[in-house]
């Protein structure tokens, strides 16, 4: 494998972007007002947390297939990226994530791209059949779930719902071992907190041979995510949405990293740009230089280079069996032996 690795201050990094998308939110694909509201919401995230130099125009943000490879691999230092599509068929005629285009790119660049697909357990038996076909067609190692997906009369589901369990069981059978879970604002019934991650706790205990990657490290429920990840060794956290705080709110991002390293440790945190919400170039550049501010270091240990390497790529590479150049494997220097987080037993009621 011939790759040019990102190098900074004499250290080389193998970068895996564990969450990217190729969406089409142009007006002709918007099925209703919600299609516009959804992309406008994304665009506000982009505008609010990106550095001024990295801002896209609204037009560009609607559809960007022609620049994806450049943004990720030419400019963005990414060595491998994983598609995590959202379907959103209630908002977009041809769906939000563009399966055929993403799959075509993946076939053209199999060393650089992995295509994860999505399913909706409310599709019942027919969906199970489709999942079998999709697993074979795409060679699925992972799947992306959006629990707040709208589906007819229903606007959300829990991973512990009976049909969801049947799909997870099929994932086990088909060798789809990485389940990426993205929580959203709606659920049925609305009596509950849609962002609650307790259902991930439930399925992580029941399906121990599957890995559950909680996108956005559980935000807006970071504490609940940390809680379940401490209890369940097969729960991981994706840094999408959290990592751009590094630019606008570095002290807050330092707290997030400090909390994550304390509760779940350096082996279960995955770098994710959430492209095209944000572009990886500035995220990678800033992350390799990011450090807990000195006045916060009594509370949090400084972040080591070895930890950055794991988070930026090695952890995701291990989940997806992505080959990593020999020189990039971690050989801990004597003064940089990462401190393993002792998972404390916290079996006390939270709520």
């Amino acid at each position: 494998m011939e790759v040019e690795l990102y190098e900074h201050s004499g250290e080389k990094y193998f970068v895996v972007d564990a969450h990217i998308a190729l969406w089409d939110a142009r007006p002709e694909n918007q099925r209703n007002i919600h299609g516009k509201q959804f992309i406008d919401c994304f665009y506000d995230y982009h505008r609010n947390l990106s550095p001024a130099s990295e801002l896209w125009s609204y037009e560009q943000y609607l559809y960007y297939a022609d620049r994806l490879m450049k943004d990720l691999f030419t400019d963005g230092y990414v060595d491998h990226a994983i598609f995590q599509p959202a379907y959103l068929g209630e908002f977009y005629h041809r769906g939000f994530g563009q399966t055929e285009e993403a799959w075509a790119l993946t076939q053209q660049h199999p060393d650089q791209l992995t295509y994860n697909h999505c399913y909706d357990p409310r599709n019942g038996e027919a969906g199970l059949d489709q999942l079998r076909l999709d697993a074979e067609r795409f060679g699925l190692k992972g799947i992306k779930l959006y629990t707040a997906e709208w589906h007819g009369e229903s606007r959300g589901y829990k991973l512990t719902d009976p049909w969801s369990r049947r799909y997870l069981e099929l994932c086990q059978e088909l060798g789809i071992k990485n389940i990426h879970v993205h929580k959203g604002p709606t659920i049925r019934p609305l009596d509950r907190d849609a962002f609650d991650v307790a259902d991930i706790d439930g399925v992580a205990s029941d399906y121990t041979d599957l890995n559950f990657v909680v996108e956005h490290v559980g935000l807006p429920r970071l504490e609940d995510f940390c809680w379940i990840a401490t209890q369940e060794p097969n729960v991981y956290g994706g840094l999408a949405v959290a990592i751009p705080f590094m630019h606008t709110r570095p002290r807050y991002f330092a707290q997030i990293m400090g909390e994550l390293l304390y509760w779940i440790g350096e082996d279960r945190i995955l770098f994710s740009s959430d492209y095209a919400l944000w572009t990886p170039k500035w995220l990678v550049e800033q992350f390799v230089e990011f450090q807990i501010p000195e006045d916060m270091q009594p509370e949090y240990s400084p972040i080591t280079t070895a930890q950055r390497k794991k988070i930026l790529g090695l952890n995701a590479a291990a989940l997806y069996d992505i080959p990593v150049p020999e020189e990039l494997q971690i050989r801990a220097a004597p003064d940089e032996v990462p401190v393993a987080s002792e998972a404390p037993d916290l079996r006390v009621p939270v709520a």
């Binding site: 959804f38 940390c226 709520a351």
Partner: protein
């Protein structure tokens, strides 16, 4: 806060289409105060401080009575509809407690469930009437979950401040009592959260208590405080995010946001200009 943007003075607002009446100031203040009691359950802050109240309109209807129209705005179209409903319904209830108010119209603007929530509120349908098959019972338990989180975060702020000041160590926190707390904003906030949960605020009451008000055993205090910090950081982070997104979504709305006493960092202005709205 500029006079033009201020929702405090209806007479200055472009949509208030009449001359100011004699009761305007008093009623406007009462309306504003009532809205200031409405909390965002997730962020544990008044909707008025967050900039979520975009407009209040007061129309005199004779007999010294008024009709009130309030518009709410949120950081995204996709903010959770159950929390959006709670805030709008709480605003309606709070205004209903003002004697001079006759009709109340609450509008949640620019949200994916605006139609559903606005018509539900107008019809007085309650939570179940508004969300029909999507509502099982009530939002009481949801509200309680976030009151508990708010208490946990407030407890951590107070205790960590004492530790930072050298007044206490983690080891002797278990014996900390309400009467030992300093007179400051953090203590006020904590006492309010305790009251919300029905805990005693007597001077001898213990500070380190669990979600049900039971004292936390001495050996569990360090870990509970550690987890409470994570809870506090999560809530603070959401507040950063929501305030920032509101300012991005509604240019100028930062003028309607008020600093939180115990986290002035929350009102930091955005570090860069956002792209022109005209591109949308």
């Amino acid at each position: 806060m500029t006079a033009v943007d201020s929702p405090l003075t209806p007479s200055s607002h472009p949509r208030a289409g009449r001359a100011p009446g004699p009761h305007d100031g008093v009623v406007a203040d009462a309306v504003r105060a009532a809205l200031g009691t409405v909390m965002d359950p997730e962020l544990d802050e008044p909707i008025t401080d967050l900039g979520f109240v975009s407009e209040q309109r007061i129309d005199e209807v004779g007999d010294g009575r008024v009709d009130v129209e309030v518009h709410l705005r949120l950081p995204t179209s996709f903010c959770a509809p159950n929390f959006a409903y709670l805030m709008a319904a709480d605003a309606q209830d709070a205004l209903g407690r003002i004697d001079a108010v006759r009709e109340i119209a609450i509008f949640l603007d620019d949200h994916h469930d605006s139609t559903k929530i606005n018509s539900g509120l107008a019809a007085g349908g309650g939570y179940r009437g508004t969300f029909a098959h999507e509502a099982d019972d009530s939002l009481d338990e949801l509200r309680m979950i976030f009151r508990r989180k708010a208490h946990t975060a407030a407890m951590e702020r107070s205790c960590s401040a004492l530790i930072r000041a050298g007044a206490r160590t983690v080891e002797d926190l278990h014996s900390l009592r309400v009467g030992d707390l300093p007179k400051d904003a953090s203590t006020d906030a904590l006492l309010r959260r305790r009251l919300d949960l029905g805990f005693s605020n007597a001077p001898e009451a213990l500070v380190m208590v669990d979600d049900r008000g039971a004292p936390i055993p001495e050996d569990q205090v360090p870990l509970r405080l550690r987890f409470a910090r994570t809870t506090r950081i999560s809530i603070d982070g959401n507040a950063h995010f929501c305030r920032g997104l509101l300012r991005t979504r509604y240019p100028g709305s930062g003028d309607d946001q008020t600093a939180r006493a115990d986290d002035p960092d929350l009102t930091l202005r955005d570090s860069h200009p956002t792209t022109p709205e005209s591109e949308r």
